[in-house]
């Protein structure tokens, strides 16, 4: 793969993804300002724009934050992750618009420069917004792969984990700001629901990621036979034999044959390709052979087979 950095490498799915984002954002803002101007003729355009941009950015941040745990819970959501950066940058752009309009509207043309006014303002919620915007800016600015290389993946990841701090700051920004002025319970409701969704998904994904994945009902695995389980990039063969369930890597140590298509013969998993054998409990070939494949914890709960996400660390 080439290591030249184009601004963005386009392909059909990215274009589709971005069109949906752009269209959705345009519709949201259009409706907010359009309907707002109709039902609140007294509201100034600046107010509607500031609020439209702020709410759009805040809502979009929930989507951005939810995609990670969603894909961990169900891999079908992966396409949402593929282009999450564009969603993030879009969210930042909206937030920047909101921040800049607010800065101009509420702090410009006074007795001190706008930023001085913002930083010394007594209501405090605006500084929280500025802090969050600064984090979002750093993330958006470093979103390209060039920075991933420069900061190294762990460094980049650490920087981008700050998004959770930004989210917390924004919940405070909204709670200490708009929620103090708005009386309609809808606003508190939206903020609370959003926080519950984001938090709930993370807790669920964390639990799922730590523990076991459900494979199928025990009966679906034939005696001495296996089913194939795909976990990320790993393939696992889950066998049933003599009232027990075992899980080992699907990849034969010989030439990568699919062990899940093999069978347990004489107590050993036997590869369908050239007949290499492995003990289902340890993944080791019976002596005198020395081949070994990875083994996974299994358990049966309520008739369902569960397999741990991580291979047992080898004791040999």
């Amino acid at each position: 793969m080439s290591v030249t950095y184009a601004a963005v490498q386009w392909n059909r799915q990215k274009k589709l993804y971005d069109s949906v984002i752009a269209g959705g954002v345009a519709l949201y803002l259009g409706r907010f300002v359009g309907v707002g101007a109709m039902v609140h003729p007294q509201a100034t355009a600046e107010t509607l724009l500031i609020r439209g941009l702020g709410t759009a950015a805040f809502l979009l941040l929930h989507v951005v934050l939810s995609i990670g745990p969603l894909t961990r819970l169900d891999r079908r959501f992966l396409p949402l992750l593929y282009n999450r950066r564009h969603l993030g940058v879009t969210m930042f752009t909206l937030a920047l618009g909101h921040g800049v309009f607010s800065l101009v509207q509420f702090h410009a043309l006074g007795d001190v420069p706008p930023l001085v006014s913002l930083l010394t303002a007594p209501a405090r919620f605006e500084q929280l917004g500025l802090a969050a915007l600064t984090i979002l800016f750093l993330m958006a600015a470093t979103s390209h792969d060039f920075w991933l290389k420069l900061l190294t993946p762990p460094g980049w990841k650490r920087l981008h984990m700050l998004v959770y701090l930004a989210y917390a700051l924004l919940v405070a920004h909204v709670s200490l700001g708009a929620l103090q002025s708005e009386r309609n319970p809808l606003f508190v409701g939206v903020v609370l629901t959003g926080a519950c969704v984001v938090l709930g998904l993370h807790v669920a994904a964390w639990g799922a990621g730590r523990g076991y994945v459900e494979v199928c009902e025990v009966e679906r695995i034939g005696e001495n036979r296996a089913v194939l389980l795909k976990l990320g990039d790993e393939k696992i063969a889950v066998f049933r034999h003599g009232g027990k369930v075992s899980a080992i890597s699907n990849v034969c140590a010989h030439q990568g044959g699919p062990l899940s298509e093999g069978k347990i013969v004489d107590g050993c998993v036997t590869c369908p390709w050239h007949g290499y054998q492995y003990l289902p409990e340890t993944g080791a070939s019976p002596p005198p052979f020395t081949e070994k494949v990875a083994v996974y914890e299994t358990k049966v709960e309520g008739g369902k087979v569960l397999v741990s996400r991580c291979a047992k660390t080898s004791s040999i």
């Binding site: 490498q9 392909n11 059909r12 799915q13 990215k14 949906v20 269209g23 959705g24 519709l27 949201y28 803002l29 409706r31 907010f32 309907v35 039902v39 609140h40 007294q42 509201a43 100034t44 600046e46 107010t47 509607l48 609020r51 439209g52 709410t55 809502l59 989507v63 891999r75 079908r76 959501f77 992966l78 396409p79 949402l80 593929y82 282009n83 509420f106 702090h107 410009a108 043309l109 006074g110 007795d111 001190v112 006014s117 913002l118 303002a121 007594p122 209501a123 919620f125 605006e126 200490l176 700001g177 708009a178 103090q180 002025s181 708005e182 309609n184 809808l186 606003f187 939206v190 795909k230």
Partner: protein
């Protein structure tokens, strides 16, 4: 998703099962956006009937007084407060207390009160008049919110409350007229040290002072705390 479906972002087409899920998510999110945009915009607090005739410049004739804040008494007896550009008080009035004035500016209006954003350099002064009539109505202890007159009367909407608080602080520091919005009436607030008491702007507050009428202005003058 069938077991063997596998999504690869750089391929032109996602597998059918994945496509279906993603399409559903996209439609769900777009719908949610549509509902929320309308719900949130409808759910906002109502906006006050206030207006700023931005860009519409008129001429005004009257007598100018500097206290408690610069204002012009019009021929019909109404008193119009004056504001400068942006978040600054006007400097046009300085040193011309009690003189006939002709100036240009844009009106800011809310509930019977009017303010003029004065076009800088437009004021022309004439002969002097006597001092303005002051009627003292007695001491009052009132609960309300300190706001800046320019935003509150219509340059911003909302021009009060928490979301507007930092702006009100800036406007008052810039010398714009202070108002005290009580449950009953909106009073011009005299003697409020907006810089020292910035933390008390834009929040519920109890103030005690002398209620008086200065020409057409309803005033609360803060005296020794």
């Amino acid at each position: 998703m069938r077991e063997d479906e596998f999504y690869i972002g750089y391929l032109p087409q996602a597998p059918a099962g994945v496509r279906r899920v993603v399409r559903r998510v996209a439609i769900g999110l777009l719908t949610m956006g549509a509902v929320l945009s309308v719900a949130l915009v409808l759910g906002q607090m109502p906006f006050a009937a206030a207006s700023f005739e931005y860009g519409m410049v008129r001429g005004f004739d009257g007598v100018l007084y500097e206290r408690p804040f610069p204002h012009v008494v019009m021929e019909d007896g109404a008193s119009y407060l004056l504001a400068g550009a942006g978040k600054l008080g006007t400097r046009e009035a300085m040193g011309h207390d009690g003189r006939q004035v002709r100036l240009r500016g844009s009106r800011v209006r809310r509930a019977g009160m009017t303010m003029i954003e004065v076009e800088t350099g437009s004021a022309r002064f004439g002969s002097g008049h006597g001092p303005e009539q002051v009627t003292v109505l007695g001491r009052r202890r009132l609960r309300g919110e300190v706001v800046d007159g320019k935003c509150y009367l219509g340059v911003m909407n909302p021009g009060a409350g928490q979301v507007h608080r930092d702006c009100a602080v800036r406007c008052l520091a810039g010398g714009l007229p202070a108002l005290f919005v009580t449950g009953g009436e909106v009073l011009v607030l005299e003697g409020f040290d907006a810089k020292a008491r910035r933390n008390e702007v834009g929040v519920p507050l109890t103030l005690e002072g002398v209620r008086k009428k200065v020409g057409g202005l309803e005033v609360l003058e803060l005296t020794g705390r």
